[in-house]
Symmetry: C2
Subunit: 392 residues, 2 copies
DNA sequence: CCGCCTAAGACAATCGTTTGTCTAGCTTAT
DNA sequence: ATAAGCTAGACAAACGATTGTCTTAGGCGG
């Protein structure tokens, strides 16, 4: 699998102090609070004994305080229609809820309604930019829809891949999103896979539209006048390698670009550094075949390739144009900055979440697959083919 | 100044026409897996309305099947001591549990035991490398200890920073870890902040040992013979800027390195691209002061700084050594690769989780603060001071 | 033969909500 | 005046597990 990474900047920022206090905190330790407090001020609450959390107010406490029964309070707070409760009572209830900062226990509610509004997200590695970019999209959509999610990373250990979905479900997850993870069998809840490796019944796959990606890259180069193009194939173990290559071959044929075996190089090493692309380009150059452009398997390899080209006294993009893949953040910082095919990872995450929620909500005709369109990011590493192009 | 790199702002984007859309294949029906389905009462799962998950076996179902009462089954499965239950029954129970793939509802258990083994992790941005690296450490420790976690990102929106902790608690979180987030007030559960901005009662802070970091950077340069060192201060709004600077000043004094105002530059812009460091170095160079080394506020700025130095015909590291900060992944890929101070983000996450769990388990004497040691990563951007060092 | 002890498990309360059903008191229509 | 109809809530049964207390039936000794 090729590597995606992201650079972290030192961008920890401070926001202006926010002084809009919400009323909060009833700090008593008696089960029934007779606290006719003043308006909410943030009093430092003294922790006594063990540092257990102060018990939050329950419906029952609230009901006792109001002289009502818990059910009624629940009805008011949930605005259940078709119940006759006078406006005055409603307001009394709501006022008390505010006053005690009542926060319903989602735990209890979930148990009762058999609905948790929670999903599980399974990911190989949390510190990897590719995965977390997808998670970011997932998170956005889920939060917006009022769902929460557990996440877990398995570092490709098969036993964890096997175990976490079960644990998720034990915690009430209503669905599971698996990023770049090969699930082994069907699960009793809806599952959406992002860049998954397998076809399993009941799993919706979200993946890049490889065909489209190939079109963007090749048409771009073609329009710039490139006709002699070198290609780099991904490592066999990368889940995208095969699809991506097949699409390139198909599109090349459509457009009328020739793919020549002697200009095709194959990545083998399991590296996540530019080293990945350096030696293969050196080798390619040693054959002294003419080419004016290179389609790299990913940005990392492209950076290594550019270094190899420069070390061979070829300029990028003057002599050779280079197209990367992924749009890792280093692509923009590199010199020259990289023209690349961006995977809309964030969108893919959002789509995955959207589809999962649809399935959870009972859509029967959910898509089995969802192909997300890539995006061509044009930067400095590609240019029109020039007279002094690389030929020997 | 002409632009050397085009980053997100100035790029041209081509978005292909929306082909195909999402629906590609349609799966007729997902028969929910009935992988058990042997004797006993097989819960017939039919999709009543929504495609809800097959209902998992509960303790009660299991008990019915065994001709026991739920309580007994619970006792066996939890190995509750002090209960007399014959070995034969125990085995019968366990066999049945295996057979039906019984998975206790953590929801119900949590409700009963008032213990969820769940914490909430609050983070500004999920797609940022800094934050997710910390999360990775958090996840490692929590999982190892049998805890799960919700995560949520707030994108610095004050209302979300305010709201999510409450929602976490509504879902039973027993503690909260806030990464790089300015919480406003005390919470009724233990809180650990990583790179937090404030001192709030009840919050344990995990942060980098800035003093140590300054020592590593300055001693390294000092040992290489550098005496004329330029310094870059972080933006005022960055939470680390102040601490880091104070430490540098203190350590410089200890070692005997002079900090000269005319060699000190101040970052102002809120950028996460190398642009951050470029103009300030240009300006510094315009003063024609002699310096042989630069301590950058972070790696991103260092990359911009190096570009500025090179554009001024100065080589790195031959003329000027540059030390970065953070060790973002691009630091290793850059040319020259960056010598930098690595923040052990993963460790910081682990420490945060460890401390939080201790506090949850009732440790009274938890540390108010935890300083994590940085690490010096020596790469190509620093070298011994040479004869041809930058002086004018 | 009777009482006591203990093993083996049943019973029931509880956690905090939700929600269908029921009732006491009042109003209204016939 | 009486039945019918509302109103404003109470009541209680879930949801699925845990856990303290009770019950039953043998087994045993006296």
């Amino acid at each position: 699998m090729h590597t995606h990474f992201r650079v972290s900047g030192g961008r920890r920022t401070i926001r202006p102090a926010q002084t809009g206090g919400i009323l909060n905190g009833i700090e008593d330790d008696s089960p029934i609070s007779k606290h006719q407090g003043s308006s909410g001020k943030n009093m430092a609450q003294e922790k006594k004994g063990p540092s257990r959390a102060a018990k939050p107010v329950s419906l029952k406490i609230l009901a006792d305080y109001l002289g009502l029964c818990p059910a009624t309070v629940s009805l008011v707070l949930n605005n259940v229609p078709g119940r006759s409760i006078p406006q005055e009572t409603r307001e009394r209830v709501r006022a008390a809820a505010r006053k005690f900062n009542y926060q319903p226990s989602l735990l209890a509610r979930s148990l009762r309604k058999q609905r948790t509004f929670t999903v599980g997200v399974l990911v190989p590695e949390l510190s990897d930019g590719y995965h977390t970019m997808v998670m970011s999209g997932i998170g956005d959509h889920l939060m917006q829809e009022g769902y929460f999610y557990f996440s877990a990373h398995h570092r490709h250990k098969p036993d964890l891949v096997e175990e976490y979905p079960r644990l998720f479900m034990g915690r009430g997850a209503e669905g599971i999103i698996a990023i770049d993870t090969a699930l082994e069998h069907e699960l009793p809840v809806p599952v959406v896979a992002v860049a998954g490796h397998k076809q399993i019944a009941g799993v919706t796959n979200v993946r890049l539209d490889h065909k489209h990606a190939a079109e963007l890259a090749l048409r771009h180069l073609h329009q710039l006048g490139h006709r002699h193009i070198a290609f780099m194939r991904g490592q066999p173990f990368s889940s995208d390698s095969n699809d991506r290559w097949k699409s390139i071959v198909a599109v090349a044929r459509e457009i009328g670009i020739e793919i020549r075996p002697e200009l095709t190089i194959q990545l083998e090493k399991d590296l996540t550094s530019p080293e990945l692309g350096y030696p293969v380009i050196q080798q390619l150059l040693s054959h002294k075949r003419r080419f004016t452009a290179l389609v790299s398997f990913n940005d990392i390899a492209a950076i290594g390739a550019i270094r190899a080209l420069r070390d061979a006294n070829l300029s990028v993009p003057e002599d050779v144009s280079v197209v990367g893949f992924d749009d890792i953040s280093a692509a923009a910082y590199h010199n020259p900055s990289l023209t690349t095919i961006r995977q809309p990872l964030h969108d893919m995450g959002q789509s995955a979440a959207r589809i999962l929620l649809q399935r959870i909500q009972g859509f029967k005709d959910y898509p089995k697959e969802c192909a997300v369109p890539p995006e061509l990011i044009i930067r400095e590493s590609t240019a029109p083919v020039s007279g002094r192009s690389h030929s020997r």
